[in-house]
């Protein structure tokens, strides 16, 4: 029972962490290694607005989401524009941006027990013989809502469709009048904003630690690689596989082994099916 309930919440947490990364990579082919940094930055910005400037929670959250989204947009125009299509350079550039953001935040001292985001509703409920706090239930709700939103957004709206068009065949998309730079910048902005949404849902479960900037990136990568980077069912399935494995390992062995599970999954999948469970192998030229 414990494994089931914590497995589900843990799985949805992983899906939340991965969804923004997957949007940007799978949809417009940009590997945003600053994903974890944006997640962290969003949490800390919200904390600053809330506790230092006295802005109400809802507004703090919204402003942070918008600011980080804007930062993602600027990251594209300032840095990624020239590197588009050169995968390794994209990775190096965004990872560099991530390290700058995370290490500056660490230097400023945003780490430790003072930095706690409020839960949406305090309290917990007993399911069977397991105590579950409301925040985790919310988290599952937000995760499910985001995945539905993500699907509808990329299949029903003009902007979402243009993201998928650019991902599938950039030059054809351009020949139909879609501006590839604008679309890619928007997708990076959306992905970054989603990182903050995930952060606001997940961070209240503990205190903010700058390390999560790196952890989130690894989790997002693991989910993306296991599931296939451009596939929504892949993200969901991979989150559940990894989520349950982590909880099972933590229950039967020791909690420290969780990271090993995540990294081990990356290695196994890369060895067996490098494109992920649902992914399709894409030639580099197709993306350019």
């Amino acid at each position: 029972m414990e494994i089931l309930i914590y497995g589900i919440t843990n799985s949805v947490t992983l899906a939340l962490m991965a969804i923004g990364f997957s949007l940007t990579f799978g949809i417009s082919g940009l590997a945003n290694f600053a994903h974890g940094a944006f997640y962290l930055l969003g949490g800390i910005l919200t904390w600053i607005f809330l506790n230092q400037l006295g802005v109400p929670y809802l507004f703090s959250a919204l402003i942070s989401i918008l600011l980080v989204g804007l930062l993602g947009f600027l990251l594209y125009w300032g840095l990624m524009l020239r590197l588009r299509g050169l995968a390794i350079n994209e990775v190096i550039a965004t990872l560099a941006a991530a390290i700058v953001i995370i290490e500056v935040l660490r230097w400023l001292g945003f780490s430790g027990f003072t930095y706690v985001l409020p839960e949406f509703i305090k309290g917990s409920v007993k399911i069977g013989n397991v105590w579950l706090d409301y925040q985790r239930i919310f988290l599952v709700g937000i995760g499910v809502a985001l995945i539905i939103f993500f699907y509808l957004f990329t299949h029903r709206t003009k902007v979402g469709l243009s993201f998928r068009a650019i991902a599938q065949n950039e030059r054809t998309a351009i020949s139909l009048g879609i501006d590839s730079d604008w679309t890619a910048a928007l997708s990076l902005a959306f992905g970054s904003a989603l990182a903050v949404v995930a952060g606001l849902a997940i961070l209240p479960l503990g205190s903010i630690d700058t390390e999560v900037g790196y952890d989130i990136l690894i989790y997002a990568l693991a989910v993306g690689i296991v599931g296939g980077l451009e596939s929504i069912p892949g993200i969901v399935l991979a989150s559940f596989i990894l989520g349950f494995c982590q909880i099972a390992v933590a229950t039967f062995f020791r909690a420290q082994w969780q990271t090993v599970v995540t990294l081990g999954a990356i290695v196994i999948i890369l060895a067996v099916k490098p494109s992920g469970i649902f992914g399709k192998y894409k030639e580099l030229e197709e993306r350019v």
Binding site: R84, R164, A165, Q168, R171, I174
Partner: protein, 247 residues
Amino acid sequence: MLEVKNLMVFFENALALNDLSIEVNRGEIVSTLGSNSAGKTTLMNTISGLIIDMQVKEDRRGGERITLMGEVWFEGEEILFSKPSTRIRRGIALSRERHPIFPESDIEENLRISTYLRKDSEVKSSFDFVYSIFPPLQMLKKRKAGFCSGGEQQMLSIGMALMTRPKLLLLDEPLLGLSPAMQTSLIQAIKQIRKEGITVLVAEQFARPLLPIVDRGYVIENGMLTLQGTGQELRENPEVRSTFMGV
């Protein structure tokens, strides 16, 4: 309607189009004939503006230098250096060679993506228009485009260009790799498209099925114009017959 004057295109130092001048009048079907690497696709990309996008991107990453010289006039305006999206708004649409569609989307979604620049209120009439020209697309609209046959993908590719409701439709090798039966039905579709008031410029190397419906044509070799004339004249020209009709 469209006038290309003394167009020269360089990829680095290689000359792809050399002092090329062509003209397309409203309501015509005009063809540019040429074998592989003659410069047909470069001409299409230059008219549709795709080359401007390639130029910007190559330049940005320090890649191949693309140089354009000459003039391209569309409806009284010089458009040589305008963006593809600007040209689509003006009414130029391109169906690229080898029918590059969006393989993971179904046919309907492919067409919907193509209405990116159009108002929501105009989308439905565009769908009706395209389905009236290519009825098979309506029957297959829920099929993933990547699973469609070459002929269906070619119809889709032209349909996607038509979704933008162009005045001038550019077709880059629409008959490439299709069965003779499929070629015939595409030729019929092109005739119908012209009947709907859309001017067509088509680049091809299969002249036999195409020339009967062409008003005028140009022959391009190594980026240079070598021959021009009406469809009838080209069909009777011995050089065209031996090179492009296999006689």
